[in-house]
Symmetry: C2
C-alpha cells in the first residue's frame, strides 16, 4: 500500500479521556475513532490488525475441530425468557423494541440462541460431540465505557459452544479449547496464561480465564513461573487425549486476585513465584445443563432414552486483544507489533520523493516485498524525514527500510528493527533477503 493512497489520519494530540497506553496509541496512530461512548470505528490500520487477529483465532478454532457459523446480533427476548436470563441480565443488556412492539435485544452472548439451534437440529447422540463457534459483534451497555476498545460497548468476540452427551465427554471438548487457546495466544505473539476462574454454582475445575501479562493489567496475577514459560502445545492431534497437555498446566498455580489462595501460592517454591498484572482476553467455561435443562435440549442417548446435553462456552475478546497486545508491546515511540498481527509486514521510507534514484530504489523494494507477500507500506508522501520516522515508529511495523540519497550513493539502504531499534546498512538485495528470508 502506498501511503498517499491510504487513509491514515494520525492525531497529533492525545485526547484527554484516553488514560491508558493502548487507547492513546490507537487514537494517535489512526487505528480507531470514537463515534459515541464505547463505540468505535475501526479505521483502515486498526481494521487490518483486527482482521489478522480474527483470522488467527479462526484458524486455531478450525484446527481444534470447531465449526464456524454466524449468529445475528439482534435476538428475540423470548429465548432469554426461557432461560430466565432476560430479567437476570440487568442494565448491561441493550434492550430494543421493534416496530411491531416485539421485545428484542443486542446479543451480549449466545448460549440461549445456540442451544435453541441445537435442540431443533440434533436428535441423536451420534451427532455428538458438536463444537460450534462464531465471530460476531456483541454489545454490553457498560455503565461507564472506558479504556477505548479495551472496555467498549460494541465489541468483537469469538464465542464457541460445545454439546456433549455427558460430563466426561464435555471435559474433552473443554480440553480442546484449552489447548486451542494456548496455541492461539502463542501465535498472536503474546504470553497468555490460563488461570483458575470462578466456576459458579456448577463447581468443579472447568473454568479458566486466559490472561495476558502486561504492567497496566486490570488484575493482579500470581503464577508459577514454569507455567508462564511453558511452550505452547503446538501441532497436536485434537482427536487424541489432551489431558496430558492440560493437566501439566493445571498442576501449576495461577490465579488472579479474585481467586487467589495465599496458602497454595506459598507452596510454590519461592524462586518460582511470579507476581504480575494481567488483562483477561479469554474465558472458557463448562456449565453442564444450565441452559439445556430449562430449554429442553435433549438427544436420544445410546440407551434410547432422551438425555439432556452438557454444554460449555469459550470466548475470546477479539477487539479487546488489539488493545491488550499493545499494552503488552509498546515503547515511548509507539506500538511494537508482533509480526503475526502487524498491519503491514514492513515500512518503506523514501526520504526524497521525486529524486530519480530514491524513487527507483523505493519502488523496487516496494515491488519485491509485495511480491514476497510481505504487504509493505510505502511512505511515498512529501512529508519531512522526521515526520516519516516518527510515524513509522508510532504505527509499529516490525521493520522499516529507509531509502535516502546519501545511502544510495554508497549503494545501501537502512533497515531498522522496530523492537530492538537496531539499524543496519544493507544493499537492496540484502535488505530484501533479510526481511523475506
Amino acid at each position: 500500500m502506498r501511503l498517499t493512497k491510504y487513509f491514515l489520519p494520525l492525531l497529533k494530540e492525545t485526547p484527554s479521556d484516553a488514560t491508558i497506553a493502548s487507547h492513546q496509541l490507537m487514537l494517535r496512530a489512526g487505528m480507531v475513532r470514537q463515534n459515541s461512548a464505547g463505540i468505535y470505528s475501526w479505521l483502515p490500520l486498526g481494521h487490518k490488525v483486527l482482521k489478522k487477529i480474527e483470522q488467527i483465532v479462526r484458524e486455531e478454532q478450525d484446527r481444534a475441530g470447531a465449526v464456524e457459523m454466524l449468529m445475528p446480533t439482534i435476538q428475540s427476548a423470548d429465548l432469554w425468557k426461557e432461560t430466565g436470563r432476560y430479567d437476570a441480565y440487568g442494565p448491561e443488556m441493550l434492550r430494543i423494541t421493534d416496530r411491531h412492539d416485539q421485545e428484542m435485544l443486542y446479543g451480549p452472548t449466545n448460549e440461549d440462541m445456540i442451544t435453541d439451534i441445537f435442540r431443533t437440529s440434533v436428535q441423536s447422540y451420534k451427532r455428538l460431540p458438536a463444537l460450534l463457534y462464531h465471530i460476531q459483534w456483541k454489545f454490553r451497555d457498560e455503565r461507564r465505557p472506558r479504556f477505548g476498545v479495551m472496555r467498549g460497548r460494541e465489541f468483537l468476540m469469538k464465542d464457541a459452544y460445545s454439546f456433549d452427551i455427558d460430563e466426561a465427554s464435555a471435559r474433552q471438548s473443554y480440553y480442546r479449547m484449552f489447548v486451542a487457546y494456548l496455541n492461539t495466544f502463542a501465535r498472536l505473539g503474546i504470553k497468555a496464561i490460563p488461570v483458575k476462574a470462578d466456576p459458579g454454582p456448577i463447581g468443579g475445575d472447568l473454568s479458566h480465564e486466559f490472561v495476558i501479562l502486561a504492567e497496566s493489567g486490570e488484575s493482579g496475577v500470581f503464577a508459577h513461573r514454569d507455567l508462564v514459560e511453558m511452550a505452547p502445545p503446538g501441532d497436536v492431534d485434537f482427536d487424541s487425549d489432551l489431558s496430558g497437555e492440560v493437566d501439566k498446566r493445571m498442576a501449576l498455580y495461577a490465579a488472579t486476585d479474585e481467586m487467589h489462595d495465599e496458602a497454595a501460592y506459598d507452596a510454590v517454591p519461592a524462586d518460582k513465584r511470579m507476581e504480575a498484572r494481567g488483562i483477561e482476553v479469554g474465558h472458557i467455561f463448562y456449565f453442564g445443563t444450565k441452559y439445556s435443562e430449562p430449554m429442553g435440549a435433549k438427544v436420544q442417548g445410546p440407551d434410547g432414552k432422551p438425555t439432556t446435553i452438557h454444554g460449555g462456552s469459550y470466548g475470546i475478546g477479539v477487539s479487546r486483544l488489539v488493545a491488550a497486545i499493545i499494552e503488552a508491546s509498546h515503547d515511548d515511540n509507539g506500538i511494537v507489533w508482533p509480526a503475526s498481527v502487524a498491519p503491514f509486514g514492513a515500512g518503506i521510507i523514501n526520504l526524497k520523493v521525486g529524486d530519480e534514484a530514491c524513487d527507483r530504489v523505493a519502488e523496487e523494494l516496494y515491488a519485491k516485498l509485495s511480491e514476497a507477500g510481505l504487504d509493505p507500506l510505502y511512505d511515498d508522501s512529501s512529508d519531512r524525514g522526521g515526520v516519516k520516522f516518527s510515524r513509522m515508529d508510532l504505527i509499529g511495523l516490525p521493520f522499516a527500510i529507509t531509502v535516502g540519497p546519501r545511502g544510495i550513493k554508497d549503494g545501501v539502504v537502512e533497515v531498522k528493527d522496530r523492537r530492538t531499534g537496531e539499524r543496519e546498512s544493507l544493499s537492496v538485495e540484502a535488505a530484501i533477503a533479510k526481511l523475506t528470508g
Copy 2:
C-alpha cells in the same frame, strides 16, 4: 471436511412460509435458520458461501483502490439529526435508547457517520480522492420481512463512500466502482447488468442499480442484449480513464419497470431487445453535496479556499447475493453453485463406509483433493446411498465423486458434474486430475 464432523442439519420439509426457491433451498440445505422475523443464523454451510462472496467483493474493492475499514452497527442519533435523516427515515430505522437515555439506532447505512469521520480527518484536497468501504451488518426494520435473507431485517452489506473535490473527479470515483462491480459479479459467476436508477433530486446520469437476471426477480428488466452479453472489463488500470468501459455500457438501453422508457426501448433493434426479470444486488449513486453541505465537510481546495466535498455511495447486498445467486442457479434437485462461491469444491460420497477398499479410495481422494486446495466435503456417514446422492445434489457442489464397491472392482470412481448432470467413470488419478486440472 468430514460430514460426520460437520454441522449440516437438513430440513426434510419445506416450511410453509418459504415461497421462493432460494428461501426453501437455503432452509432445506441447512444454510440458514430463522431466529425471529427477518433475522437469521448462518449455519456452517451458509456461512461458508457468505464468506466466499464477501471475500470476492473485498478483493475487487481493493483492486479498485477502495480502502477497507469498519464502522460500528450502533450509531448515535446525533449525526442523523445533522443531516435531517433521523426524522425522515421512518419506521424502518431501528431506534434504540441506551441505559443513559441516549438516542441510538442500528445503522441502516453509513453516509452520515463516514462524512463525520471524513470531516474530522481530512483537511486538504491533496488527500483526495478518498474511497473507503466496509462490510458490516445493517438493520432495516421491514414492515413485512419475507423471502428469507432476500428481504431480511439484519443483512450484510458492503458500502463504499467516495470523497472528491468536484463533480468531475467524483465521476471518476463513480466509474471505478462501476467497473469494479462488473468484475465482482462476473467473478461470482452470475450475469448482473447495470440499469439506470432514479438519481433523485440531484439529477444527472450517475445512479445505477446492478440487477441479476433471474425468473423470480422482483422487477421487470428491459435491456439491450449486447449489454447482457458483454464480457466484464477484467484487469484494467483503475488509475486510468475508465470512461471507455463505462460509456459503451451506458450507451446501451437497460432499465427496470420503474425507470422504463418505452420510446427509448423501441429504438433498440427488435432482435436486440430483451425482457427479463431481475433482482437488485447493488446500487451506486453520486449524491454531490447532500451530506457534506449540512455537515460542513470541507477541505482546503487548490485555491486555498474551503471547498465542500462531493460524495457518492456504493452498495452491494452481500447476504442478499447468497439468495440471488440461488434464484439464478438451481434446479429441481437443489442448488447449483458457481464454482467461485461453492461452499466446498467437491463432494466425495463413500457408498460403503467400513469397507476396506471403499474407505481407502475415499480417504485417498479426500487427502489429495484437500492437498490441492479444493476443500472437499467427504460424506463418511452411514446413511443410505440414496440419501447421500440427494443431499449432495441439494447442497449443490460443482462435482461429486462417488466411491462404491462395484466401481472399485473395475478400478473406477464416478464423477458427476452438478450443473450438466453428466457422469463419467474415471480412475482415481483421472478423477483428481479432472477436478484439480
